[in-house]
């Protein structure tokens, strides 16, 4: 019996002819890819937000330029640039030190880095807004009490920034998750890639793309539920919103 004749549940199931396991593993990889890129984006985004507010003009301009570039080019381009550009770059750097050229970096690494670099540009905006939303008087009260920079940040600024940034970060996360599908082009077996493969090999594109849609929706709605819960817990002091 050819795969085209198999019933949908068998194709999507976990049996010998089923793609269920592959699809679920793809979804797991998508989640891992998104988490990795979100983390990269958070760290770099926080640094960029700090740089934007820096008194050193060149640093602030550099951070602004980064945002303009990363938000102004297609994400797919960044993914391709890193995946195909990285081996050459690595070989050049290795060459400088007289080392042999290393092989291509894994697709997961370049993929999460590419999406993370884009995510950082958006997260920097979010963090910047969050920092500006902390009233000056909150910091002055901390200064007047003799709190040093770390204590001020940890006890006063950070909790308030988190409150302001969680809702927009949830948004960035959702974009991040969807952008991870672009990494399919590098052959990484995340959800988009495996559904493409399954659709091609079974010639049942509608079935598999619909299945992928359901899995993506499950990931996005589950994660926004998680975000809502964290927000609710962290925002008691600000009242309902």
């Amino acid at each position: 019996m050819s795969e085209q004749d198999l019933p949908a549940f068998a194709l999507l199931g976990f049996g010998t002819d089923g793609w269920g396991r592959v699809l679920v593993l793809g979804a797991v990889l998508t989640l891992a890819l998104s988490l990795a890129s979100m983390t990269i984006g958070s760290v770099l985004g926080a640094l960029l937000a700090w740089a934007r507010g820096s008194r050193r003009g060149w640093l602030a301009r550099l951070a602004t330029a980064y945002g303009v570039i990363m938000r102004g080019v297609p994400e797919l381009l960044v993914v391709l640039l890193l995946y195909f550009g990285a081996p050459g770059l690595m070989a050049a750097v290795a060459g400088l030190f007289g080392l042999p050229a290393p092989g291509s970096p894994p697709a997961f690494l370049t993929g999460s880095l590419a999406i993370g670099l884009v995510s950082a540009a958006y997260q920097a905006e979010v963090f910047r807004g969050g920092l500006l939303a902390v009233p000056k008087g909150q910091v002055e009260a901390a200064l007047a009490a003799g709190m040093g920079p770390w204590l001020r940040f940890r006890r006063i600024v950070l909790p308030q920034v988190l409150h302001h940034v969680l809702p927009p970060l949830g948004n960035v996360w959702q974009f991040n998750l969807k952008d991870s599908a672009l990494v399919a082009i590098t052959g990484l077996a995340e959800l988009m890639r495996v559904s493409l493969v399954a659709a091609g090999s079974t010639r049942r594109p509608f079935l598999f793309f619909a299945a992928a849609m359901v899995l993506y929706l499950a990931l996005t709605s589950l994660s926004s539920a998680v975000f809502r819960r964290i927000e609710a817990r962290g925002s008691q002091w600000a009242g309902r919103r």
Partner: protein, 255 residues
């Protein structure tokens, strides 16, 4: 016996904002237990002066010392003052306390956490001890039942009383009040002034920038009139509010 070392000594404080000279050289000493009301029109520089004392504003020129310890300031090569020792600055600020016009309670902390934050995190007091003291202080400012409230749930007067409890929590040597009643509804002003009156009575050293003439006249030990960035006149309230007051201060009072 008088304390030989003043709690505050400020000498030659000058400050400009964008080329406009706001403070043109202010000298002020405060002895232990003094309550000094600083009066003046808007834009006279009185709040800026107060904010220079704990270096929330950096003066361009001048010297400050708190109970004999000079503020850690040095001149950089352009002649501007800058902080020479951030830790010393922190401990100087920790020995003073400030009450703001806008209260500035930390809005993400409950009332009790606002009061214990500096004792625990800046002064290293044990949490249990800090909590116990905080409850006593909240009781003292009439906010005993509000330890678990969030600042946003309180009226302006209540927030300011909590802010005063927070200021008292570190047992400061000098308390700076920056227009503490100016943001309050008229009917709430009284509860804060009464509290400040009781602090004065227990011998706290206080510098109060205010528009409350009754407080200045009845509570303070000295009244300072700041005009155009200088101390125009100062003296005990009986003198300042009496017939021998300076014409400029009388003009300010009648304005």
């Amino acid at each position: 016996m008088t304390d030989a070392i003043p709690v505050l000594r400020a000498t030659g404080i000058e400050k400009s904002f964008g080329g406009r000279k706001v403070l043109k050289g202010i000298d002020l000493d405060a002895a232990k237990g003094e309550v000094i009301s600083i009066l003046g029109g808007s834009g006279s520089g009185k709040s800026t002066f107060l904010r220079c004392l704990n270096l929330l504003e950096m003066p361009d020129v001048g010297e400050i010392s708190i109970a004999g310890t000079p503020a850690p300031l040095v001149r950089d090569r352009h002649g501007a003052l800058r902080v020479s020792d951030a830790r010393a600055l922190g401990s100087m600020r920790a020995r003073t306390a400030m009450v703001f016009q806008g209260f500035n309670l930390w809005s993400h902390m409950r009332v009790i956490d606002n009061v214990i934050a500096a004792p625990v995190h800046v002064h290293g007091m044990a949490r249990e001890e800090a909590v116990e003291r905080a409850h006593a202080l909240l009781e003292r400012v009439g906010m005993g039942g509000f330890a678990q409230h969030w600042p946003r749930q309180l009226s302006g007067g209540q927030q300011q009383r909590v802010a005063i409890a927070r200021a008292l929590a570190t047992d400061p040597e000098l308390m700076l009040f920056d227009e503490p009643t100016s943001a309050l509804d008229p009917e709430r002003v009284r509860e804060v002034l009464d509290l400040m009156r009781s602090l004065a009575a227990e011998g706290r050293t206080m510098l109060v920038v205010t528009h409350e003439m009754a407080f200045a006249r009845d509570v303070s030990t000295r009244v300072v009139h700041v005009r155009e960035g200088r101390i125009e006149s100062m003296g005990p309230p009986a003198q300042m509010f009496g017939p021998d007051a300076s014409p400029a201060f009388r003009a300010f009072l009648s304005a």
